[in-house]
Amino acid sequence: MPSPRAFLLLWLPAILAAAAVLLPVAYLLLRAANGGDAAWVTLQRPQTLATVWRTAALGASVTLVCLLLAVPIAWLTVRTDLPLRRLWAVLTPLPLVIPSYVGAFLYASALGPRGLLQGWLEEPFGITRLPDIYGFPGALLVLSLLNYPYVLLVVRAALQRMDPAQEEAARSLGHGPWSTFWRVTFAQLRPAMASGSLLVVLYVLRDFGAVAVMRYTTFTRAIYIQYQTALDRSAAAVLALMLILFSLAVLVLESKARGRSNQLNSAANPRKAERIKLGAWRWPAAAFCAAVVALALLLPAGVLLYWLVRGWLAGEALDNSARLIWNSVSASGLGALAVTLVALPVAYLLARRPSRSSSLIGSIINLAFALPGIVIALALVFFGANYALPLYQTMPMLVFAYLILFLPQAVAAVRASFQRVPAQLEEAARSLGSGPLGVVRRVTLPLLRPGVSAAVALVFLTAMKELPTTLLLAPIGFKTLATSVWSFVSEAFFARAAAPALLLILTSSLPMALLVLREEKDN
């Protein structure tokens, strides 16, 4: 039995957070039950099985491509004498700030069968049509290029904290750099790759924008189509419940892949590993990083600039930008702080008090990652308007929605930090006469800081991009960069969408770059 104090400080917030996540689930059950038998017929349609298959195929492929891109980049930028290493370290995580619905529009308009690229190729080479990117290839391309940074960030952090002693031992036993990488480094990175992959899979399950633009029907799109074409909330709810079951399966798989060793073999203040000399491989390695940056960052930014300039030339106005930036930054900032604050006790419980109850709470919270934004939004519209009217369409309500949406992300980041702070260090401080709160203040928190700032930055930039929940739950008239980009892009006012989209990307790049540069400095 936890002490009253532990209960108040740890268990109560964690239980409340899990309860918050269960609200949308309760809403779905309510809607599905209201629909009667007709809604359940949705499950028996052959299309539903096809949707399951398509979703699984996309989730697995995107994860694989993300790993193939992220692990080499992480290793190259942390451990080797890659040319322009710091530049790549800062640029490679940045695609994460591009919203998937914007990214997908940009790729479609650049690489579509008759897109910008085809236009450039037509004169010199007579190419009148490029292969179709819509469907699976397009969805794979967009989601991989925009989400590999999830894996990159986690693997980079793990590499930076990894104790080089084992690698040195392997080297001294005569293993070359490649052999050492595969046998020692790669093996130790498994937990980090698993948790990065989990973030990617769950993002793919939740994403709507990229699959909608690329016309590839995963669960989220099927759910949206039910709302959109048939205004059928019950059938949508049944599909969403299936999506939750699907995500549960993914979570189980991930915990298997992570294996028993939750504790990364790492030190709180690791010695600096010696940089590996790439030799002749330096240039191919740099070319690889350059290619990824060109495709994932420069290409979308270039198309946006093209739209922007075309709009400027047509006399497009750019008013209200300051207001939009302030709204986006304040809502996302408040959200990031609130979510991280709640993530602290939850992550502590998961890392330090492993038990059935704590892992149950952890799984419930991870479930939130699989809830499509529209479901969370409508659940809170329903509960808010009917049971919490004074709070409805207020800022606290929006922050509460962000809490449900982004808690798993923040918990994962903070939890990884807790796992890097050896519990023995805390015990030692206790044995030297420090009180529990003193230990937290003087020992745990300082060592936790990288994880906490990573959580704040991640939640901030994901909230900046967030759309359906912000649309439905923000105070009326409260417009953000994301909502105005969406409003313009969905009516094909590309020129008008370009400025807020660029501002959105620039504003979220700031905390992202800050985070990476700080890690670099620590390293």
């Binding site: 349609r45 299309q47 096809a50 398509r54 710091r86 800062v90 579509g112 069968p113 008759r114 897109g115 009148t128 049509r129 819509y134 633009v213 016309r215 029907t217 099927a222 189509i225 709302y227 959109q228 074409t229 048939a230 205004l231 400027w312 047509a314 006399g315 497009e316 106005a317 750019l318 300051a322 409508l378 519209v381 329903f382 308007a385 009917n386 009217l389 359906p468 649309l471 439905l472 009326i476 008239g477 909502t483 409003s487 313009f488 969905s490 009516e491 094909a492 006012f493 590309f494 020129a495 008008r496 400025a499 660029l502 501002l503 620039l506 504003t507 770059a513 800050l514 540069l517 400095k521």
Partner: protein
């Protein structure tokens, strides 16, 4: 702070400043022959405290914000607008029920309005509002009124298609020669409504056969009308089934060289359907009087002229000049369907799903 970070922040700040200092001219889309409005905005007299109005708009901000702003300026009413898709707003209204803060629901199609009407959330409109439009353009039960109309057309690529050779009827596009050349937005509300009209006019079996015929011709599916128009213009497909007014914004943004144009089938069948975007007043809204004033304003000459000149939709009120680019509404041979007959969107959505157009 590291020097690199300082440099980076500087670059970002310069970027932000540049973006903020862009030329502040407004893009206006002038209709070639739009005359000056002849009648002032409906009620202009300012009251001591004109109060508030909350609008849920399923129409996009880019299209309707300017005219809503004009209403707010003219009346002094504090107008708050929530923008989203028609379906999102309908779902939100259904969840909120009687506690909704909304006074007006402004939707892109009769389907969304019908769902809210069926849930008993709308109040009947005063005759003074309903009388302003022809009977076919309002809810048969008087719960909502059409504001503007859009016509179904075939958009075609100007390089590869001679419009004279297009079939006179949508049924022609099921012929094998159209294999792989057609763009369709199967989840778009207007497309679903057109299918509803087909079911009314052609019957279930023939509609199903048409959908199957189109689906068998390997069409390319898009998520909305703009996607289809863009694809037609770029030559990704050669024809598409959309509403008439999307094209004109592209023409305005990209000039006469834009590679797509509209073709009216104009045969009196479901392929020449004219559909309305409309608005209704929420029965539990707190600002009923302002809601009525808003609908009166939207049906005034000023607002109707705005739509005719800026969004290229058809005005529903007499005496408003439309752009010469548009075939006048009076010349359109529209099918004889009451709007009430277009409310069964669920049945049409099911049919579209059944033939495999929606995965």
């Amino acid at each position: 702070m590291s020097r690199k970070f300082a440099v980076f922040s500087f670059i970002v700040m310069v970027g932000l400043l540049l973006a903020g200092c862009a030329p502040a001219t407004q893009l206006t889309v002038e209709a070639t022959t739009a005359p000056e409005p002849t009648e002032p905005a409906a009620p202009v007299e300012q009251e001591a405290d004109p109060g508030k109005l909350v609008i849920y708009s399923g129409r996009s901000e880019g299209l309707v914000a300017p005219i809503i702003q004009q209403f707010a300026d003219a009346t002094g009413i504090e107008v708050e607008v929530r923008y989203g898709s028609t379906a999102e707003m309908a779902a939100a209204l259904l969840e909120e029920g009687v506690n909704s803060p909304a006074d007006v629901y402004y939707a892109q199609d009769p389907g969304g309005l019908g769902a809210i009407e069926d849930a008993g959330l709308l109040s009947t409109l005063p005759a003074s509002i309903l009388e302003r439009v022809a009977p076919g353009y309002a809810s048969p039960n008087g719960y909502w009124v059409g504001i503007t109309a859009r016509a179904r057309i075939v958009v075609y690529n100007t390089e590869s298609i001679n419009p004279a050779e297009l079939p006179g009827d949508l049924r022609g596009f099921t012929a094998p020669e159209w294999n792989g050349r057609v763009g369709v937005p199967p989840t778009n509300a207007s497309f679903v409504t057109m299918v509803t009209a087909m079911r009314q006019l052609w019957g279930e079996d023939e509609t199903r056969a048409w959908l199957e015929g189109i689906a068998a011709n390997n069409p390319v599916y898009y998520s909305n009308n703009t996607g289809v128009v863009e694809a037609v213009a770029s030559g990704e497909v050669e024809v598409g089934f959309v509403n008439h007014y999307y094209l004109y914004r592209f023409l305005a943004e990209q000039g006469e060289g834009y590679g797509a144009r509209n073709h009216y089938l104009n045969n009196g069948g479901p392929d020449s359907l004219v559909m309305v975007a409309g608005a209704g007043i929420l029965a539990n809204g707190r600002n009923q009087e302002n809601a009525v004033r808003f609908l009166q304003f939207m049906l005034s000459q000023v607002a109707q002229q705005y739509f005719a000149s800026s969004t290229f939709e058809y005005p529903l009120v007499e005496g408003v000049a439309t752009s010469t680019l548009l075939v006048p509404l009076s010349e359109l041979n529209t099918p004889d369907i009451a709007l009430g007959g277009l409310s069964d969107i669920a049945g049409s959505a099911a049919l579209i799903e059944e033939v495999g157009m929606v995965p």
